[in-house]
Symmetry: C2
Subunit: 149 residues, 2 copies
Protein backbone atom coordinates (compact mmCIF):
# COMPACT_ATOMS: atom_id res chain seq x y z
CA UNK A 1 0.00 0.00 0.00
CA UNK A 2 1.33 3.46 -0.85
CA UNK A 3 2.07 5.46 2.33
CA UNK A 4 -0.33 8.13 1.10
CA UNK A 5 -3.28 5.77 1.83
CA UNK A 6 -2.18 5.03 5.41
CA UNK A 7 -4.53 7.70 6.78
CA UNK A 8 -7.43 5.33 6.04
CA UNK A 9 -6.23 2.28 7.97
CA UNK A 10 -8.23 1.08 10.93
CA UNK A 11 -11.78 0.40 12.06
CA UNK A 12 -14.20 3.30 11.99
CA UNK A 13 -17.61 3.54 13.63
CA UNK A 14 -20.27 6.20 13.69
CA UNK A 15 -23.62 7.28 12.40
CA UNK A 16 -25.08 8.59 9.18
CA UNK A 17 -28.25 9.68 7.50
CA UNK A 18 -29.76 8.87 4.15
CA UNK A 19 -32.35 10.43 1.92
CA UNK A 20 -33.62 10.06 -1.63
CA UNK A 21 -36.75 11.17 -3.50
CA UNK A 22 -38.09 7.62 -3.63
CA UNK A 23 -37.71 6.75 0.07
CA UNK A 24 -38.26 8.11 3.56
CA UNK A 25 -35.24 9.78 5.22
CA UNK A 26 -33.44 7.37 7.55
CA UNK A 27 -30.60 7.19 10.04
CA UNK A 28 -28.03 4.43 10.35
CA UNK A 29 -25.07 3.18 12.29
CA UNK A 30 -21.95 2.20 10.37
CA UNK A 31 -18.71 0.29 10.70
CA UNK A 32 -15.95 0.60 8.11
CA UNK A 33 -12.68 -1.33 8.11
CA UNK A 34 -9.76 -0.30 5.89
CA UNK A 35 -6.89 -2.79 5.90
CA UNK A 36 -3.68 -3.57 4.08
CA UNK A 37 -1.97 -6.68 2.73
CA UNK A 38 1.84 -6.97 2.90
CA UNK A 39 3.57 -6.00 -0.39
CA UNK A 40 0.26 -5.18 -2.10
CA UNK A 41 -0.57 -1.72 -3.54
CA UNK A 42 -4.15 -1.43 -2.32
CA UNK A 43 -6.32 -0.87 0.75
CA UNK A 44 -9.06 -3.37 1.54
CA UNK A 45 -12.51 -1.96 2.32
CA UNK A 46 -15.35 -3.58 4.28
CA UNK A 47 -18.48 -1.72 5.29
CA UNK A 48 -21.69 -2.58 7.13
CA UNK A 49 -24.57 -0.48 8.33
CA UNK A 50 -27.48 -1.18 10.63
CA UNK A 51 -30.57 0.74 11.61
CA UNK A 52 -30.43 2.54 14.99
CA UNK A 53 -31.66 -0.70 16.66
CA UNK A 54 -28.89 -2.83 15.15
CA UNK A 55 -30.79 -4.55 12.34
CA UNK A 56 -28.56 -5.02 9.27
CA UNK A 57 -29.12 -2.57 6.40
CA UNK A 58 -26.45 -2.11 3.73
CA UNK A 59 -23.07 -3.74 3.20
CA UNK A 60 -20.30 -3.37 0.66
CA UNK A 61 -16.74 -4.49 0.15
CA UNK A 62 -13.92 -3.75 -2.21
CA UNK A 63 -10.51 -2.25 -2.76
CA UNK A 64 -9.01 1.21 -3.05
CA UNK A 65 -5.98 1.88 -5.24
CA UNK A 66 -3.88 4.99 -5.73
CA UNK A 67 -1.93 4.45 -8.95
CA UNK A 68 -0.30 7.89 -8.80
CA UNK A 69 0.24 10.48 -6.05
CA UNK A 70 -2.91 12.39 -6.96
CA UNK A 71 -5.25 9.72 -8.30
CA UNK A 72 -7.40 7.02 -6.75
CA UNK A 73 -9.52 4.13 -7.96
CA UNK A 74 -12.21 2.22 -6.08
CA UNK A 75 -13.84 -1.12 -6.86
CA UNK A 76 -16.92 -1.97 -4.78
CA UNK A 77 -19.25 -4.97 -4.65
CA UNK A 78 -22.67 -4.73 -3.03
CA UNK A 79 -25.03 -7.54 -2.00
CA UNK A 80 -27.90 -5.76 -3.70
CA UNK A 81 -26.35 -7.00 -6.95
CA UNK A 82 -24.45 -3.83 -7.79
CA UNK A 83 -20.77 -3.39 -8.67
CA UNK A 84 -19.23 0.07 -8.91
CA UNK A 85 -15.90 1.11 -10.38
CA UNK A 86 -14.72 4.63 -9.53
CA UNK A 87 -11.88 6.91 -10.56
CA UNK A 88 -10.94 10.23 -9.04
CA UNK A 89 -8.48 12.25 -7.07
CA UNK A 90 -6.52 11.98 -3.86
CA UNK A 91 -5.46 15.29 -2.27
CA UNK A 92 -3.93 14.91 1.17
CA UNK A 93 -6.55 12.98 3.10
CA UNK A 94 -9.46 13.75 0.78
CA UNK A 95 -10.78 11.35 -1.84
CA UNK A 96 -13.19 12.50 -4.53
CA UNK A 97 -14.47 9.65 -6.68
CA UNK A 98 -17.00 9.31 -9.48
CA UNK A 99 -18.25 6.04 -10.88
CA UNK A 100 -16.89 5.26 -14.33
CA UNK A 101 -19.20 2.28 -14.53
CA UNK A 102 -21.94 0.47 -12.64
CA UNK A 103 -22.89 -3.17 -13.24
CA UNK A 104 -26.13 -4.80 -12.13
CA UNK A 105 -27.15 -8.41 -11.72
CA UNK A 106 -30.45 -9.37 -13.41
CA UNK A 107 -32.46 -8.77 -10.21
CA UNK A 108 -30.62 -5.68 -8.88
CA UNK A 109 -32.28 -2.32 -8.38
CA UNK A 110 -31.23 0.10 -11.10
CA UNK A 111 -28.27 2.28 -10.07
CA UNK A 112 -26.85 4.49 -12.84
CA UNK A 113 -24.04 6.52 -11.25
CA UNK A 114 -22.48 7.19 -7.86
CA UNK A 115 -20.22 9.93 -6.52
CA UNK A 116 -18.26 9.52 -3.31
CA UNK A 117 -16.37 12.11 -1.31
CA UNK A 118 -14.40 10.99 1.75
CA UNK A 119 -12.27 13.14 4.05
CA UNK A 120 -10.26 12.17 7.10
CA UNK A 121 -9.27 14.71 9.75
CA UNK A 122 -7.21 13.00 12.42
CA UNK A 123 -9.42 10.21 13.72
CA UNK A 124 -12.63 11.49 12.16
CA UNK A 125 -13.82 10.27 8.76
CA UNK A 126 -16.63 12.04 6.96
CA UNK A 127 -18.15 10.98 3.67
CA UNK A 128 -20.92 11.95 1.34
CA UNK A 129 -22.41 9.75 -1.34
CA UNK A 130 -24.46 10.99 -4.29
CA UNK A 131 -26.42 8.57 -6.41
CA UNK A 132 -28.40 8.47 -9.64
CA UNK A 133 -30.80 5.54 -9.40
CA UNK A 134 -34.31 4.35 -10.30
CA UNK A 135 -34.69 7.14 -12.88
CA UNK A 136 -33.57 9.98 -10.57
CA UNK A 137 -30.73 12.42 -11.35
CA UNK A 138 -27.43 12.27 -9.47
CA UNK A 139 -28.10 13.76 -6.04
CA UNK A 140 -27.48 13.44 -2.33
CA UNK A 141 -28.12 10.01 -0.87
CA UNK A 142 -25.89 9.44 2.20
CA UNK A 143 -23.60 11.22 4.62
CA UNK A 144 -21.90 9.94 7.76
CA UNK A 145 -19.31 10.81 10.34
CA UNK A 146 -17.19 7.99 11.77
CA UNK A 147 -14.47 7.86 14.43
CA UNK A 148 -11.41 5.60 14.36
CA UNK A 149 -11.77 3.08 17.22
CA UNK B 1 -29.73 -16.16 3.40
CA UNK B 2 -31.79 -18.82 1.61
CA UNK B 3 -31.21 -22.28 3.14
CA UNK B 4 -30.11 -23.52 -0.28
CA UNK B 5 -26.87 -21.49 0.06
CA UNK B 6 -25.98 -22.90 3.50
CA UNK B 7 -23.69 -25.51 1.94
CA UNK B 8 -21.18 -22.72 1.28
CA UNK B 9 -20.86 -21.35 4.81
CA UNK B 10 -17.53 -21.58 6.56
CA UNK B 11 -13.83 -21.10 6.03
CA UNK B 12 -12.18 -23.14 3.29
CA UNK B 13 -8.47 -23.70 2.70
CA UNK B 14 -6.53 -25.56 0.07
CA UNK B 15 -4.40 -25.28 -3.01
CA UNK B 16 -4.88 -24.48 -6.66
CA UNK B 17 -3.09 -24.07 -9.91
CA UNK B 18 -3.28 -21.40 -12.59
CA UNK B 19 -2.33 -21.18 -16.21
CA UNK B 20 -2.88 -18.81 -19.13
CA UNK B 21 -1.25 -18.32 -22.53
CA UNK B 22 0.39 -15.07 -21.42
CA UNK B 23 1.94 -16.32 -18.15
CA UNK B 24 3.89 -19.21 -16.67
CA UNK B 25 1.84 -21.92 -14.93
CA UNK B 26 1.75 -21.37 -11.17
CA UNK B 27 0.51 -22.95 -7.96
CA UNK B 28 -1.17 -21.18 -5.07
CA UNK B 29 -2.62 -21.58 -1.61
CA UNK B 30 -6.08 -20.21 -0.96
CA UNK B 31 -8.46 -19.27 1.81
CA UNK B 32 -12.13 -18.58 1.14
CA UNK B 33 -14.68 -17.44 3.72
CA UNK B 34 -18.42 -17.57 3.01
CA UNK B 35 -20.53 -15.90 5.69
CA UNK B 36 -24.06 -14.77 6.37
CA UNK B 37 -25.73 -11.71 7.87
CA UNK B 38 -28.90 -12.13 9.97
CA UNK B 39 -32.12 -11.46 7.98
CA UNK B 40 -30.20 -10.76 4.74
CA UNK B 41 -30.69 -12.78 1.53
CA UNK B 42 -27.05 -13.15 0.50
CA UNK B 43 -23.79 -14.91 1.34
CA UNK B 44 -20.66 -12.81 1.88
CA UNK B 45 -17.51 -13.90 0.04
CA UNK B 46 -13.88 -13.15 0.92
CA UNK B 47 -10.95 -14.77 -0.84
CA UNK B 48 -7.17 -14.54 -0.63
CA UNK B 49 -4.41 -16.52 -2.27
CA UNK B 50 -0.69 -16.69 -1.66
CA UNK B 51 2.18 -18.35 -3.45
CA UNK B 52 3.41 -21.65 -1.93
CA UNK B 53 5.75 -19.63 0.34
CA UNK B 54 2.94 -17.46 1.71
CA UNK B 55 3.49 -14.27 -0.29
CA UNK B 56 0.17 -12.60 -1.15
CA UNK B 57 -1.08 -13.08 -4.71
CA UNK B 58 -4.73 -12.45 -5.54
CA UNK B 59 -7.68 -11.32 -3.44
CA UNK B 60 -11.34 -10.70 -4.10
CA UNK B 61 -14.51 -10.01 -2.17
CA UNK B 62 -18.19 -9.83 -2.88
CA UNK B 63 -21.62 -11.30 -2.42
CA UNK B 64 -23.58 -14.27 -3.72
CA UNK B 65 -27.33 -14.13 -4.17
CA UNK B 66 -29.85 -16.79 -5.13
CA UNK B 67 -32.99 -14.96 -6.19
CA UNK B 68 -34.83 -18.15 -7.11
CA UNK B 69 -34.38 -21.83 -6.27
CA UNK B 70 -32.36 -22.50 -9.40
CA UNK B 71 -30.57 -19.21 -10.08
CA UNK B 72 -27.58 -17.44 -8.59
CA UNK B 73 -25.90 -14.07 -8.96
CA UNK B 74 -22.40 -13.06 -7.91
CA UNK B 75 -20.87 -9.60 -7.50
CA UNK B 76 -17.09 -9.53 -7.06
CA UNK B 77 -14.57 -6.73 -6.51
CA UNK B 78 -10.86 -7.28 -7.14
CA UNK B 79 -7.92 -5.12 -6.05
CA UNK B 80 -6.51 -5.30 -9.57
CA UNK B 81 -9.22 -2.79 -10.48
CA UNK B 82 -11.73 -5.30 -11.81
CA UNK B 83 -15.40 -5.74 -10.90
CA UNK B 84 -17.36 -8.75 -12.14
CA UNK B 85 -21.10 -9.34 -12.12
CA UNK B 86 -22.23 -12.90 -12.81
CA UNK B 87 -25.51 -14.69 -13.36
CA UNK B 88 -26.08 -18.41 -13.59
CA UNK B 89 -27.55 -21.50 -12.08
CA UNK B 90 -27.67 -23.25 -8.74
CA UNK B 91 -28.32 -27.00 -8.85
CA UNK B 92 -27.95 -28.73 -5.51
CA UNK B 93 -24.48 -27.73 -4.37
CA UNK B 94 -23.19 -26.74 -7.80
CA UNK B 95 -22.95 -23.16 -9.01
CA UNK B 96 -22.31 -22.36 -12.67
CA UNK B 97 -21.82 -18.66 -13.30
CA UNK B 98 -20.93 -16.53 -16.32
CA UNK B 99 -20.03 -12.87 -16.18
CA UNK B 100 -22.75 -10.61 -17.56
CA UNK B 101 -20.40 -7.66 -17.25
CA UNK B 102 -16.85 -6.73 -16.28
CA UNK B 103 -15.79 -3.22 -15.25
CA UNK B 104 -12.21 -1.96 -15.16
CA UNK B 105 -10.60 1.01 -13.46
CA UNK B 106 -8.41 3.18 -15.73
CA UNK B 107 -5.22 1.29 -14.76
CA UNK B 108 -6.63 -2.25 -14.56
CA UNK B 109 -5.47 -5.09 -16.76
CA UNK B 110 -8.04 -5.87 -19.45
CA UNK B 111 -10.41 -8.67 -18.45
CA UNK B 112 -13.29 -9.27 -20.88
CA UNK B 113 -15.25 -12.22 -19.47
CA UNK B 114 -15.09 -14.79 -16.69
CA UNK B 115 -16.80 -18.12 -16.09
CA UNK B 116 -16.91 -19.73 -12.68
CA UNK B 117 -17.97 -23.26 -11.72
CA UNK B 118 -18.05 -24.19 -8.05
CA UNK B 119 -19.09 -27.51 -6.52
CA UNK B 120 -19.25 -28.60 -2.89
CA UNK B 121 -19.20 -32.25 -1.89
CA UNK B 122 -19.44 -32.53 1.87
CA UNK B 123 -16.50 -30.54 3.21
CA UNK B 124 -14.66 -30.32 -0.11
CA UNK B 125 -15.08 -27.35 -2.44
CA UNK B 126 -13.76 -27.48 -5.99
CA UNK B 127 -13.89 -24.64 -8.47
CA UNK B 128 -12.73 -23.83 -11.95
CA UNK B 129 -12.42 -20.36 -13.39
CA UNK B 130 -12.22 -19.57 -17.10
CA UNK B 131 -11.18 -16.12 -18.29
CA UNK B 132 -11.02 -14.07 -21.46
CA UNK B 133 -8.38 -11.38 -20.90
CA UNK B 134 -5.62 -9.39 -22.61
CA UNK B 135 -6.93 -10.34 -26.05
CA UNK B 136 -7.21 -14.09 -25.38
CA UNK B 137 -10.38 -16.14 -25.84
CA UNK B 138 -12.32 -17.48 -22.85
CA UNK B 139 -10.32 -20.43 -21.55
CA UNK B 140 -9.04 -22.19 -18.46
CA UNK B 141 -7.28 -19.98 -15.93
CA UNK B 142 -7.65 -21.43 -12.41
CA UNK B 143 -8.74 -24.53 -10.54
CA UNK B 144 -8.52 -25.34 -6.84
CA UNK B 145 -9.66 -27.81 -4.23
CA UNK B 146 -10.39 -26.52 -0.74
CA UNK B 147 -11.45 -28.19 2.50
CA UNK B 148 -13.81 -26.72 5.11
CA UNK B 149 -11.75 -26.04 8.27
Amino acid sequence: MPDRLAFLLGTWRGTGRGDYPTIEPFEYREEVVFGSVPTKPFVTYLQRTTDPDGAPLHAESGYLRSPTETTAELVVAQPTGVAEVHAGTLAGTTLVLASTGVLLTPTAKEVAAVGRRLEVTGDVLRYELDMAAVGQDLQFHLEAELTRV
